[in-house]
Symmetry: C2
Subunit: 230 residues, 2 copies
């Protein structure tokens, strides 16, 4: 035995904390989706045994919550500017962008109440931007309506993106050709309006579509803020 093959000294256990655990989990999820996140793999990435994690995390769901909150740090802009409409619009777009960077977020969005510090800060910023523009109930409804639209639209966008990715087809032809299934369905003649939509619909990019729907919703909110309920 030489110095070269002398066994490594027993590695001191790397100190862990939630931050490192969450970062490892996010890295795994970014690479392989949510289903690639297992406590064993997260622990392995930190050179630890699986049970180590339970000193910092009570359950896997809690880890997911922490992941979601961590991404909310990317969503909250450093500084707020613009009127309430700009604030809400930017919040929606940043949420969408964060989800495009971390597709697994789509699976979690809206799935559980978000009570982490970053998520609360995001909500706080939205509420603050609307503060005083109408009675509290209206303000709450406004924020919730916009964010309901956002999460719904983002989820659908990611769902479609995954579907077309799975078939490996160009966006244009995706619907028309998503398996013989949809084609056959449309061929039955039971869905004429849908068939027309699939056939004649122009290709619009996802961001524009998201932005347009968002603007509609913001228009609606603007109308309610101007004319608060009796």
């Amino acid at each position: 035995m030489t110095v070269w093959d002398r066994p490594e000294p027993p590695t001191r256990p790397v100190p862990l904390d939630r931050e490192r655990i969450v970062a490892a989990a996010i890295a795994l999820a970014d690479e392989g989706g949510l289903e690639a996140v297992s406590l064993r793999k997260v622990a392995a990435r930190l050179d630890a045994g699986p049970m180590r994690l339970y000193g910092y995390i009570a359950t896997k769901e809690e880890l997911f919550d922490l992941m979601v909150d961590e991404v909310h740090a990317e969503i909250l802009p450093e500084e707020q500017f613009g009127d309430w409409r700009e604030v809400l619009r930017i919040r929606a777009h940043r949420t969408r962008q964060a989800t495009l960077r971390h597709e697994w977020l789509a699976d979690l969005l809206g799935g559980r109440p978000t009570l982490g510090p970053n998520a609360l800060a995001v909500t706080e910023a939205a509420l603050a931007a609307l503060d005083g523009l109408a009675d509290l109930d209206t303000v709450l409804r406004a924020v919730e309506t916009v964010s309901a639209y956002s999460t719904g639209a983002i989820r659908r966008e990611i769902a479609n993106l995954r579907a077309e990715r799975a078939t490996g087809l160009s966006k244009r032809d995706w619907q028309r050709a998503s398996g013989p299934h949809l084609r056959k369905m449309l061929a039955t003649g039971r869905f004429p309006a849908l068939a027309k939509a699939v056939h004649d619909g122009t290709e619009v990019d996802a961001e524009a579509s998201f932005a347009t729907g968002l603007d509609w919703v913001l228009d609606a909110v603007a109308a309610k803020l101007a004319r608060p309920p009796a």
Copy 2:
């Protein structure tokens, strides 16, 4: 051995089909949530071995898709009446009601493109109701915007419902007391607008809140239909 303990004649294998499988899966999910649905349990409920199912279903995800489509049969009303706005409103409310009956649907809503016959029929009905009221792109955007709001709002409602159910608290006190966690967060003073909202927000029932946001979105759609884009 008497006639009494004579072994049962070997039970003929019960003939299966997708319908029965999906029904069993839905029953399990209704009772214990999505996570209670395992192929083994579904098969057991049909007196079959787990592998039997693979003759009718390629994967568990496909089973989920079939479950979602099955519930869409409850969403599609027997007969359509009213103008486009009524059609879209009813569709949203029926989706919400179906989700309240089958809470697991909230976990799946918007998660994957819905291409089953019932889901297509639901979409078809919506498109048909808007047909001709504007150019096709506007009509599509309208339907998608409303359904994005619906899925987002429904998911949040179910998420909150589960959270308050978990804490076993009355709706009124839920936010104020969801663990020491939220209280501590609000006590930091970093979230004044949020604190005010939690403190002063009146208790509104979920259905009214859903309906109000939906009406806002429908107002927005109405405005765009009246004035199609240049």
